[in-house]
Symmetry: C2
Subunit: 286 residues, 2 copies
């Protein structure tokens, strides 16, 4: 929806004065927690006019007993941030092209939902039936030029399933097609990037093609390597996490380890599909 000087609710028949008052507020949608969400369009708006609309809107929302007020400003309307902050709003979150501000009206404790706190990454353990694993050397980053062979890794995109991200990253970096098997382990680490935390999921994938075509931009080299050769690297032996991962991979190869598989589920109230990851081996045999 775009911001305009129209009512935020269906207008009943009202005396002129009151109608006038309701007309001069920012339009928004109501959320299920007594809040109002105003999404401004990119069309330029004079900060003075906006400020007066915002002040009238705040009064209106207070009278209506509203709680959290959300204002989403596209980067084109950067000049409107200052008036919003002056009305007592804080930042909530930002994406490259917009900023979301929020203000909690009541005197009671703020129950606004927190901002996203974690980035999510994946590592891919891709092993052939002969026990060869898919490894790469990266062109940039910490291990550039080190000669270290590592599993393909990457970041889960916005709205992407972890299991899909693993398949995509392997394809992008090496050209290999795979099928997701399960999550073998995951790690949570903090302050990985400014104040944000990180969740890294180690995925096992089954290769369904074998002819490597490495990506030129990020990947220096890619190959199939005997698992023992990968695990014998000093880098793997010195690194707690990688040593555990190597042990898990060996147990997995011997079919003595169950990770978490992805099972699509539907939430009955939201009707949305989402993956539940759990130990299906144990559940099915219990």
């Amino acid at each position: 929806m775009s911001a305009s000087a129209s009512s935020s609710s269906p207008s009943p028949v009202l005396p002129d004065k009151q109608l006038q008052q309701v007309d001069n507020v920012l339009s928004g949608t109501e959320d299920e927690h007594g809040g109002v969400i105003v999404e401004m369009s990119k069309e330029p708006m004079d900060p003075v006019i906006f400020t007066s609309l915002l002040k009238a809107s705040m009064l209106h929302w207070k009278q209506q007993g509203k709680r959290g007020i959300w204002i989403k400003l596209p980067i084109e309307l950067v000049s409107l941030i200052e008036p919003v902050v002056k009305e007592g709003f804080s930042y909530h979150h930002a994406e490259p092209k917009h900023l979301m501000l929020v203000h909690w009206i009541p005197e009671t404790t703020n129950t606004l939902p927190a901002n996203a706190s974690h980035r999510v990454g994946i590592g891919a353990f891709v092993m052939t039936e002969k026990g060869e694993v898919l490894v790469v050397q990266e062109k940039s980053g910490k291990f550039q030029g080190s000669g270290i062979w590592k599993f393909p890794t990457g970041v889960v995109d916005e709205g992407e399933d972890i299991c899909d991200a693993a398949v995509r990253e392997v394809k992008e970096e090496t050209g290999i097609d795979t099928k997701f098997v399960e999550i073998l382990a995951f790690r949570q680490s903090h302050k990985s990037f400014f104040e944000k935390s990180d969740l890294f999921f180690m995925c096992m994938l089954k290769p369904v093609s074998f002819n490597i075509q490495k990506q030129e931009r990020e990947i220096e080299a890619a190959q199939w390597m005997a698992f023992e050769e990968y695990a014998a690297q000093e880098f793997v032996q010195k690194h707690d996490l990688l040593k555990y991962m190597a042990k898990i991979c060996i147990a997995k190869r011997e079919e003595k380890y169950s990770g978490f598989s992805a099972v699509p589920t539907i939430t009955s109230f939201s009707k949305k599909q989402s993956n539940l990851y759990f130990n299906t081996n144990d559940l099915n045999s219990s």
Copy 2:
């Protein structure tokens, strides 16, 4: 560090003119990816003076071959956002009291790290040896007034370990002390809040105290309930995720299910401790 009109690097002996030029840039720290991070202090700064400093800084950083330029503005300096955006910066992320902007200088593909994409929540399965589970009714939210008994749930705080968050939430909501056992399952869902995704970890905890003292603010009621009574609720039976969870809990009770335990690991290069979650049962017996 605070922003000031000083050099961003140690000053060698330079001719006056060049020194003057280097002196008039924003001070920042260099990151390991060829970037510069400028953290502005809260002290007021005139937007005109800031704009001229910023323009000189950009020129300087370009000449130095810098790549990503990060500017962190506290909310007190809201008036400086517009000049930064006009220099070509985008928003990267925001927290209540600051906004981080970023600009990628080179012509090459932007390799800036993504913003945090997921919120992380926990659910707590706390069961006594007699097979009673800890359940609550919440004062607000979707199930307010519905009479539904659910497991305690909550949001993982910034910088908090998942296993600690589960123990904290149970203590806060019910007064019960617990010990983290393992993660039984987790769910990834999308667009749970604006464009952000959600990771929800179902944790098993062992109670070490039994006297319930419910939190007044959020919790309507809390009690120990026979697991069968919890699982028989229509709400649990109709909800895919909860039905799976109930099955997992039954398998767990019969000691026929292994989830992921938390094992502290140290990253050899960063020296930071982080938890690795995996199936320790299978690994230890393999």
